[in-house]
Amino acid sequence: MNTATFKKPSVILASIILILAVLAALVPGLFTSHNPLSGTSGALLSPSLEHWFGTDSVGRDLYSRVIYGTRQSLLGALVAVLVGLVVGTILGLIAGAQGGWLDALLMRIVDVLLSIPSLLLSLSVIILLGYGTVNAAIAVGITSVATFARLARSQVISVSSLDFVEAAYGSGASRFQVLTRHILPNSLTPVIALAAVQFGSAILQLSVLGFLGYGAPAPTPEWGLIIADARDYIATSWWLTVLPGAVIIAVVMSANHLSHIVQKKAR
């Protein structure tokens, strides 16, 4: 990426949003003085200077819940992406590099993973592992393993056919060296770009789990849960769903945008 890319206003904006989100996850206290866990004044107050996003149905400051929710949401998305990325890439790498029956077997396993409805898979995994942010994140991550594996495999196969891979064998490199030093680094860019997209989609999937009642246990502030809980009051208190929704959209869009930049550069 050259410097011109970084100067595009959309890229700057997306980066700022993500940096703010990460900051909010690390030091939420920087952004708000309200307690996200205990009610202050009345419930369902509309936005004001005191409560920027209003208060929720229990009377807690919504803005501070969104800020404190950043940690859970980003952590969840991160875990989900890591599960998919690590497991998927390893599977794809082995399949692509090894070929033959192992490839066929691994790809059929991927088919199986893809043919079970992902939501059913993640709900089952949550019930199996128990409720909680990390478990929900793992469940979401498992559903993306197949996508990562497929991408990694096709990357590995296309990179393997490049001359420098054979040249590396020519330079006396062992199979493992070729895999780790030559194939893997050159296969990763699209995989990383996918990870960024998945990061956004994991936030959304986690929020869907919250909607269905399988998300983080209350009173943990978590974005999906915040929206899911507030949806009942949309007719009376629209800001409860719309404002946190806007925050999710901003963060997910930023992650996607940066991912596309990475992808474009990789092409």
Partner: protein, 311 residues
Amino acid sequence: MTARQLWLRIGQALLVLLATYTLAFILLSALPSDAIMARYASPDLGLSSDEINAIRAEYGADKPLIVQYFTSLFGFLTGNFGYSVQTGASIASMVAEALPGTLALAISAFVLACIWALLIAVAASFSRGLRGFVLGLPSLMVSLPSFWIGIILIQLVSFKLGWVPVIGASPVQSLILPALTLSIPIAAPLAQVLVRSIEDVERQPFISVVKARGASRSRIFFGNVLRNAILPALTIAGVLFGELVGGAVVTEAVFGRAGIGQMTVNAVANRDTPVLMAVVVIAATLYVLINLLVDLLHPVLDPRVRRKERA
């Protein structure tokens, strides 16, 4: 595709189905609590654990897992889907009631999504001024939580503007908002792939050659670019199907539509394994069929593939 390849492909598909079935069975059996508990341990029935165990024996749920596995597999192979433990309803009739609605939803959402994707692609190619805005749309669409879209659409379009009823709507009316809701997250990746592959195709030398024939922009786009650009979009259709099913769960829940999605959520909540196995079988079969269809469609759209397979 030669007949041999087709058979091979079908054989592979059946293998995947069986593996999916087995994996799902193991996964669901491993879940804590079960359908019998979920139904009969409910406190308002006031049943003792002895009574519940007797009921469990009645359902055959006390037999070893391997026996249950083969019983259920044999049932599916012979077309006997069994009964929901939670409600006692025949699963075949549940599916018969739920599937058409879900298919109608999924198909209309998919068609809508294709239209959005095309519109976005066309707008991005034709209007330079709006290009930046239009290209941002898929990012936005993919960033919206689907239940959130649904709830807001209901509030705005139905309750505030009164354009479409949500309650007591005719079958066509009741399809409009859910299909719209479901189409948005599906349209986004489709549009992204389409826009990207249009960009790729537009860079191809043959487009310059067509331009050199004096072709107009619309002829270049509709007559030459589009068909080439659709091929990569076709390949992700199979993957998008998973999204459709997942999205259908949420959409059906929000709109209170009967369908496979709602059936799935209810069945998960009640650990209703027989129903879930049916859902898995249906979804996996659809998945396999759609991918088979994509494979078969590819040579129709792409003559290059036809040749290779004949050789």
